[in-house]
C-alpha cells in the first residue's frame, strides 16, 4: 500500500510497480483511494498480489510505502504484524511512531532527490520513481521489466527514460546496500498473466461502445464516469476517423448538464444512431424526467451509471452500489427499466454491446451499472474476444423497402404479441411519419385522453417488460446443491469468490448466483426457490438488490438475509465470511 499526496505524480509510479509485477506473470490488482480534490490531499494506492489472483481488497497491509508525512502515523498503524514499512527517513524522526513488530526501512528519499536532481517539480516526481526502485529491490522486481515500461511510457522523450531509470537505480541501490533484500514477501515470476490485460472498467466499456457501433456520445463531466468518455474519445480519434476524407464517424457532445446529455441521447437514438451517456448518481437524478419520456414514448437510450457514494453529492471518489432502485424505477408514474450489472472490465466490454442491442430491440432505456471500483481501478482481465459475425440488433426498425410496401403505419401496435411495436426513421417517406410524445397516446400513436386507449398502451408495456426478462443476460450460477447460497452482483463478485473459497476451506460449502441483469429471468426464480437460506451481498445501506428480488420474484423474503458494506471502500472478503459464519453460528441452515 502506498500513502501519497495527490497531484504529486505518485499514481504513475504506483501503476508502474503494478505493471512490472503483472509483466512478471504474477496476478495483481490495484485500487486507488483518492480525494475529491486536485492537489495536495492524502491519497492511497493499494496493490494486491496473490498466487490465486484474488481481486478484492485484502484488508491486510504487508508492505506500506509511507510517503505522506501528514498521514504517516495512521499509515504506520495499518501495517500488519510482520509486515514492512518503507518511509522517508529525511523527516525529523520525532514524527515517527516506532513499532517493533514490523520491519522499518527508512530511505532518505528527499535527501537523495535533492542530491541527484534539479528543480522542485522534478524532485517530487523523482521521489516517487525512487521509492519504486527501493520497492523493486525489496520485493525483487526485475529492473529490465521496469526499464522496458519506462521506455514505452516515454517513447517520445528518451532523456526522461534515463532520468527515471537513474532514480530507480538510486532507490534500488540504497535498499540493496542498507537492508537485506529481497524480503520474505517477494514477487516470484509466474506465468499466470499471459493472455491477460490490465484495464479499468470505464475504458473497457468505451471499447464496447466503439465495437457496438455507437456514433453519438453525450455527457456532462462527473466523477467517476468521466474517464469513460475520455477513453471513447481517444479510441474514436484512432479508429473512427476516415483515412480518406479525414472526417469523424462519431460525434461527442459535451452538454451543459445531464438533463441535456440524456436529451441528446434520446434525440439521436430516435433518429437512428446508437447513442449513450456516461454519468453517476447525481446525473441519474437529473435525468429522471427524460427517462420517463423514453420509457413511455419507447425510445432507445443507453446510460452508463458509474456509481459513487450517495446520497446527494456524497463521496464522489468512493465506491458504492447505491443506485439500483433509483434506476430500476426511475421517473414518476408507473415505470420499470432494464439494468445490466457488469462485474469486471471484461463484462463492461460485452455488456456495453448488449446494452445497445437491448435498447434497440426493446425500444427503451437500458442502464449499465458500474461502480467506481470497477470503472476506475485497474483489473486483470482475460484478453477480450470479438466475433466478426456480430451484427447490431437494430430491433423492429422498418427498412425503406418495408415502408414502401406498407399500407398504413401504426407506431404503437403490438403486432407480434411480444409487446414490442415497430418504429420508423424520419426522412424516408411521408407514409412512415408518426408523432412521438410523452403525453397520452393510443396504439396508433395518436394523442388520446381516452381511458381504454391509454390503458391498452400501458398494459402492452408490461408485456414488453416480460419480453425483456427473456432477452437480458442470464445470471451466472455455481450450484453444488447446497441449502444456503449467496446472491450478489457486480463488483461484489471479487470478494464473494474469495469468501466462498475461504468458507470452503473451513468446511462450509454454499452455492452462488450472480445476477447480471434486471428484470430477472426464470433461472433466478429457480435458484431462489431451490435454496433455504440466501445471503444477499451488496454494497449499499438499504439492501437495494434484496428489495428488487423481493418485489420482482416469487421468493419468500424471509429467506433473504442481507450482507451489506457501504462505507465507500470496496467490500473485503472478510466481511462476507463473517456475515455467513455468524448467521450459521445462529443455526441458520447451511
Amino acid at each position: 500500500k502506498f500513502a501519497n499526496v495527490n497531484g504529486s505524480g505518485s499514481t504513475s509510479a504506483n501503476a508502474m510497480v503494478m505493471k512490472a509485477i503483472f509483466r512478471m506473470g504474477v496476478p495483481v490488482v490495484g485500487k486507488n483511494f483518492f480525494p475529491s480534490n486536485i492537489q495536495g490531499l492524502p491519497t492511497w494506492y493499494e496493490i494486491r498480489v496473490t498466487r490465486e489472483g484474488w481481486r478484492a481488497r485484502s484488508g491486510r497491509v504487508d508492505i506500506m510505502v509511507a510517503m505522506n508525512a501528514e498521514t504517516y502515523s495512521r499509515d504506520v498503524r495499518e501495517v500488519s504484524a510482520g509486515g514492512c514499512l518503507v518511509y522517508d527517513s529525511t523527516w525529523p524522526s520525532n514524527t515517527l511512531l516506532a513499532r517493533d513488530d514490523i520491519r522499518t526501512c527508512g530511505v532518505p528519499f528527499a535527501q537523495l532527490c535533492n542530491d541527484n536532481f534539479e528543480g522542485a517539480r522534478a524532485r517530487t516526481l523523482m521521489k516517487n520513481v525512487m521509492y519504486a526502485g527501493t520497492l523493486a529491490a525489496l520485493i525483487d522486481l526485475d529492473l529490465e521489466v521496469i526499464r522496458a515500461l519506462l521506455a514505452e511510457t516515454f517513447a517520445k522523450k528518451p532523456t526522461l527514460v534515463e532520468s527515471n531509470m537513474k532514480a530507480i537505480e538510486i532507490g534500488y541501490r540504497y535498499a540493496k546496500e542498507n537492508f537485506d533484500c529481497p524480503l520474505a514477501t517477494r514477487i516470484e515470476r509466474m506465468n499466470a498473466t499471459a493472455g491477460h490485460i490490465m484495464i479499468d472498467g470505464n475504458t473497457a466499456a468505451a471499447l464496447g461502445c466503439l465495437y457496438a457501433g455507437a456514433t453519438v456520445g453525450a455527457w456532462y463531466p462527473i466523477t467517476p464516469s468521466t474517464s469513460l468518455m475520455d477513453a471513447f474519445r481517444s479510441l474514436c480519434a484512432r479508429h473512427r476517423v476516415d483515412p480518406k476524407t479525414g472526417k469523424n464517424d462519431y460525434l461527442i457532445v459535451q452538454a451543459e448538464d445531464e438533463l441535456a446529455a440524456i436529451g441528446v441521447v434520446i434525440g439521436a437514438s430516435w433518429n437512428g444512431v446508437r447513442a449513450f451517456t456516461p454519468t453517476s448518481g447525481p446525473g441519474i437524478s437529473l435525468m429522471e424526467e427524460f427517462i420517463g419520456l423514453a420509457y413511455y414514448a419507447e425510445v432507445p437510450a443507453v446510460i452508463f451509471d458509474v456509481q459513487r457514494v450517495g446520497p446527494s453529492t456524497g463521496m464522489p471518489t468512493r465506491t458504492q452500489q447505491c443506485d439500483l432502485l433509483a434506476c430500476a424505477y426511475a421517473s414518476h408514474g408507473d415505470t420499470r427499466h432494464v439494468l445490466l450489472f457488469p462485474d469486471s472490465p471484461e463484462e463492461c466490454f460485452h455488456m456495453a454491446v448488449q446494452a445497445f442491442d437491448l435498447a434497440e430491440r426493446l425500444q427503451t432505456p437500458v442502464f449499465v451499472l458500474l461502480d467506481l471500483d470497477i470503472g476506475m481501478n485497474d483489473w486483470m482481465a482475460p484478453d477480450f474476444k470479438w466475433d466478426d459475425n456480430y451484427r447490431p440488433d437494430r430491433g423492429k426498425m422498418l427498412s425503406d423497402e418495408q415502408i414502401a410496401g406498407l399500407g398504413k403505419f401504426h407506431r404503437y401496435l403490438d403486432s407480434d404479441g411480444d409487446g414490442i411495436p415497430y418504429r420508423t426513421l424520419p426522412g424516408v417517406s411521408p407514409k412512415a411519419a408518426y408523432f412521438t410524445r410523452g403525453s397520452g397516446h393510443n396504439s396508433y400513436g395518436v394523442y388520446t385522453e381516452d381511458a381504454a386507449e391509454y390503458q391498452e398502451v400501458m398494459d402492452r408495456l408490461v408485456r414488453k417488460f416480460g419480453t425483456a426478462a427473456r432477452l437480458v443476460p442470464p445470471a451466472t450460477i455455481e450450484a453444488r446443491g447446497a441449502q444456503a447460497a449467496i446472491v450478489s452482483l457486480g463488483s461484489c463478485d471479487a470478494p464473494v469468490r474469495e469468501a466462498l473459497a475461504s468458507l470452503r476451506r473451513s468446511g462450509t460449502v454454499i452455492d452462488y448466483m450472480r445476477v447480471r441483469a434486471f428484470p430477472f429471468g426464470a433461472e433466478v426464480e429457480e435458484f431462489l426457490a431451490a435454496h433455504q437460506t440466501i445471503f444477499v451481498v451488496e454494497q449499499n445501506r438499504d439492501a437495494q438488490l434484496r428489495s428488487l428480488l423481493t418485489l420482482e420474484t416469487a421468493v419468500d423474503k424471509q429467506k433473504l438475509r442481507s450482507i451489506l458494506h457501504y462505507n465507500g471502500l470496496p467490500m473485503p472478503a472478510r466481511c462476507i465470511v463473517d456475515g455467513v459464519n455468524s448467521a450459521l453460528a445462529k443455526g441458520v441452515a447451511a
Binding site: 456514433t215 479510441l235 434525440g267 437514438s269 408518426y434 388520446t448
Partner: protein, 351 residues
Amino acid sequence: MSFISKPKVANPGLPQNELGLNRRDYEGAMSTLCAGCGHDSVTAAIVQAAYEMALPPQSVVKLSGIGCSSKTTAYFVAGAHGFNAVHGRMPSIATGANAANRNLRYIGVSGDGDSLSIGVGQLAHVIRRNLDMVYILENNGVYGLTKGQFSASADIGSKSKKGEANEQEPIDPVLLALALGASFVARSFSGDKEQLVPLIKAGLSHSGFAIIDVLSPCVTFNDHEGSTKSYAYVREHSDAPVAADYVAPQREISVSYAPGETLPVTMHDGSSIVLRKLDPDYDPTDRARAAGYVQQRAMRNEYVTGLIYVDQKRRDFHARHNTPDAALNGVPFERLCPGAAKLPKILASFR
C-alpha cells in the same frame, strides 16, 4: 383527442408547387387551440413557407416542448416526423436528432415559458452549438396552457388579466440570442404574414441556428388592455429597421433595388435574402450595434422586428465536429467497428 383528424379531400383546383403538392399537403391535424390564437397564424405561415419552398414533407423534422405553442407541430406538415419533448428540453432532443442525420430540415416550435423559463438553459446552449435548425419562439408573455401566469418575457409594467403588473426584468429572446452569439436572429408578429413567411424561409435556408421570436398573442389570457403582448399593442409598437425578401435558389434577384441601401445575403442552400434598409444607419451584420439598437427600443417596450442579425460565415455544429456530409445514421457498421483483426493491437496497450 384521438378522434380529431382533418378530412383529407383531394383538391384538384389548388395550385401546386414544384413537387406537385398543394398547400393542404403541408397541413397537419386540426388545431385544438382557442379560436383566434396567434399560434394558429404562425402554423399557417410555416405551412406557407414549406409549401412555397417545396420541401419534401419527409425531409422535415418537427420538434417542440410542452405548451399550447408546442402543440402546434402536430398542425403542420403531417408527412413529417414530430417529437413533442418534455417541457423546456426540446433543444437537447434537436441536438441529438440533428447529430444523427444532418440532412433533414429541423423546425423547432416553442413558447416563451418553454424557452425562457424552464428552458432558457437549453436554449442558451443550443445557440452556442450553432445547431442547424430554425427555432420559432411563439411569444405571448404568458403560460397559456396553464391558464395565464406571467412568463419570463412579460414586459415590466405589463398587466395580467387579474390586473397585477409585472415588475421582473423580462427576458428578450432577441437580446439573449445576440448576447450569446446566435448566427441568425429575427423577430416578427403572428399577424404579419408578409414579414413572417420570408423570415421562416430564410431561417430554413440559414446553415446554423436561426431563432425567430414571433410575438403571438394569447387571446384568452393576454390580449387585454395593458398587456404589451396583445394584438393591439404589438401592432402599434413594432417596427423593422430592415426588410428581408427571400429569393429561392436558381432564381434571379429580379426586383431592382436602389444601390447602397440593399444587401443581398447568399444562403447556404443557394437561396438568398435581400435586405432593404428602412433605417439607414442600421447594420444587420454588426452584432454589437444591433444589440444596442434593440436594447434601446426594448427599454421603451418597443419591438424591433425583421431580420435583426445574420452571420453566414459561422461554422455550424457539424462543421465544428468534422462529421461526414452523409448522415451518421447511414454509416455502415463495417466502417464503425474495428473488428477482431484490430483488437489484439488495441489490447496490447493494456499489458
